[in-house]
């Protein structure tokens, strides 16, 4: 059985009798979407990754894997999470060339921007990063940039700086459409402390309505 791949089609074929072939065509293989979120410890970067992964698996019924890496510090150190979403089984659990990069600290911008896929999506909080340092990279690789001032929105509109990550989940849901609004809200309610559900849903909606 031979196998060829055309875009997102995976075609298996074999010759049964001279000139007669048996084909198996799989559609949608390798359609793994990779999201990477970078910031610093205490911003809720990892929780936002958990919420996206939970929304995709438990509520949208897709496959998802969420991994994380962090320094030994409890707060202030570098923090990163990666979420892979797909209709098929996910083998390798780490992002290799993210389709979507979400940046919540300048350090993370410098560290991760180069991994971003050609024509990938970059979402940043403009109050936390200086985008001009990578302007060449952005034009060269045709990066689609969205500036979402999530920390300011969380502080001024919701009155809680710590929900900036949930505002960002709203932004990601709107821009990428990788998870449904319904699934995102269910995952938020399932993941945040009891009593804070309303504030978090408001934060999500503020982010969702930003674009």
């Amino acid at each position: 059985m031979a196998e060829i791949q055309l875009g997102n089609l995976l075609i298996y074929y074999k010759e049964i009798i001279n000139g007669y072939y048996l084909f198996h065509i799989f559609i949608g293989v390798d359609m793994i979407k990779e999201i990477k979120i970078g910031g610093f410890g205490g911003q809720g970067v990892i929780l936002s990754g958990v919420i996206i992964g939970k929304a995709a698996t438990l509520f949208d019924k897709k496959n998802s894997v969420q991994t994380q890496s962090y320094g030994p510090e409890a707060r202030g150190g570098a923090s990163k999470t990666e979420i892979l979403i797909s209709d098929e089984e996910i083998r390798y659990p780490k992002a290799q060339n993210p389709d979507i990069l979400i940046i919540m600290s300048h350090e993370a911008l410098l560290k991760y921007h180069a991994d971003l896929k050609e024509e990938g999506i970059l979402i940043i909080d403009p109050d936390l990063v200086h985008l001009d340092v990578i302007s060449d990279f952005i034009s060269e690789h045709k990066i689609d940039v969205y500036e979402a001032n999530v920390t300011k929105i969380a502080t001024e509109e919701i009155g809680m700086k710590i929900v900036a990550n949930i505002v960002m989940v709203g932004v990601v849901t709107k821009i990428t459409k990788l998870i449904s609004v319904d699934a995102a809200k269910k995952a938020i309610i399932d993941s945040v402390p009891k009593g804070s559900e309303n504030k978090n849903i408001s934060a999500f909606e503020s982010g969702y309505n930003l674009f």
């Binding site: 698996t57 438990l58 659990p93």
Partner: protein
């Protein structure tokens, strides 16, 4: 109805332990295993179990051994540095045939190494870490679902063979979140208690699986539990060569003679493969992807996923080696299981090592590059 959760590997392990009937955890927290202790510290009391944080790993494994002899399924969870400290008492548990589960969520090593990064540097420590001849059972999960399933399996094997079982996980699996299906009914092995009159009972005799039912302290069986060479009654007999030889051979054979029941491997695309990749634990995810990419560009790759590093799946590796040109062992150390595989397979196939150290998972494209050099 089966329940679906999106949880971390460490939480899946802790949930598996509860389902398997574990009712005691003794430990000392260490990254990247801490979430196991954290989950059990609140959950065990809810199911009438006990949780204790000891002063260090030496006493932690001691508490687990004692709890097991009180008739309770018991465990601990640690990482490389703590696993090193537990070796002496793991040997005691081997010699005294104490069923228990040690979860080792491996991190970058040696020494305190890289607390928040992944590694597989404890493979040989799990095999030979304590002194003397013994046969450990070690199981390596490569998904969050397997961390749940293999923890249950670990408890079942520990109870069936009266041995410590080591779950050799790693940071990637411990901290990764994936969907897990929790079954309604988990098959568990209930500890077999002796039925004989306490006067006639020999606790260290071979009557079933190479061992004997295990009484609990307080049941009325006044038995002696020792790390010294002992007779079937449990009394120390340390200068009789035959007693020692019989004891140690029985302990080793109860695992080796039941190899078929314990060993577990998964194969894929091996029938027509030229090169087979071999791994265990989280790098299995890398080789699965490598095989997928390789196959789609016409390279005949297959993979062998080792679920039970120990007892080492010798027959399975040899069988594969006879059908292929090359084997490539992918692991997160500078070559540990590689030497085991080379030992049994090198007369039939070329055996190569792909090492990744530094804390991150081997990248499929890097593995593929190495494969292209072989072609």
């Amino acid at each position: 109805m089966t329940k679906e959760l999106f949880i971390q590997g460490n939480e899946a392990c802790a949930r598996g332990a509860i389902e398997a009937g574990c009712r005691f955890f003794g430990g000392y927290p260490i990254t990247p295993s801490t979430e196991i202790a954290e989950y059990l510290s609140t959950t065990l009391p809810e199911v009438s179990g006990s949780f204790i944080q000891m002063e260090d790993e030496l006493s932690a494994i001691g508490a687990v051994i004692a709890a097991s002899w009180s008739g309770v399924k018991s465990m601990t969870a640690t990482s490389g540095p703590g696993f090193s400290l537990m070796q002496e008492n793991i040997g005691f548990a081997m010699m005294s045939e104490t069923p228990l589960v040690v979860v080792d969520v491996q991190r970058g090593s040696p020494s305190t190494g890289q607390p928040t990064m992944s590694g597989q540097g404890d493979m040989m420590q799990a095999r030979w870490g304590s002194h003397g001849d013994y046969e450990p059972i070690a199981i390596s999960p490569s998904s969050v679902q397997e961390f749940f399933d293999f923890t249950v399996l670990g408890f079942n094997l520990a109870e069936k063979y009266r041995v410590p079982v080591i779950i050799l996980a790693d940071e990637v699996i411990g901290h990764m979140r994936e969907k897990v299906r929790l079954p309604d009914n988990v098959e568990t092995f209930k500890r077999i208690m002796p039925k004989e009159d306490p006067k006639d009972f020999l606790p260290f005799k071979n009557v079933r699986n190479g061992t004997n039912p295990m009484p609990a302290f307080g049941d009325g069986y006044n038995i002696h539990v020792t790390g010294l060479t002992h007779n079937e009654l449990g009394y120390p007999i340390t200068i009789n060569p035959k007693v020692h030889s019989n004891l140690v051979r029985r302990l080793v054979n109860k695992i080796l003679k039941n190899r078929k029941d314990i060993v577990s491997c998964d194969f894929k695309y091996c029938d027509d493969a030229d090169i087979v990749l071999i791994s265990y634990g989280s790098p299995v995810r890398s080789i699965m992807e490598t095989v997928k990419i390789g196959r789609s560009s016409g390279i005949k790759l297959g993979y062998l996923k080792i679920n039970t590093p120990y007892p080492f799946p010798e027959d399975e590796v040899v069988k594969i080696a006879k059908n292929v040109n090359d084997l490539m062992v992918v692991e997160m150390n500078l070559g540990q299981m590689f030497h085991e595989i080379e030992r049994v397979a090198s007369s039939n196939a070329g055996v190569h090592l792909f090492s990744e150290i530094g804390g991150t998972l081997p990248k499929p494209n890097d593995i593929l590059d190495r494969i292209l050099e072989l072609l």
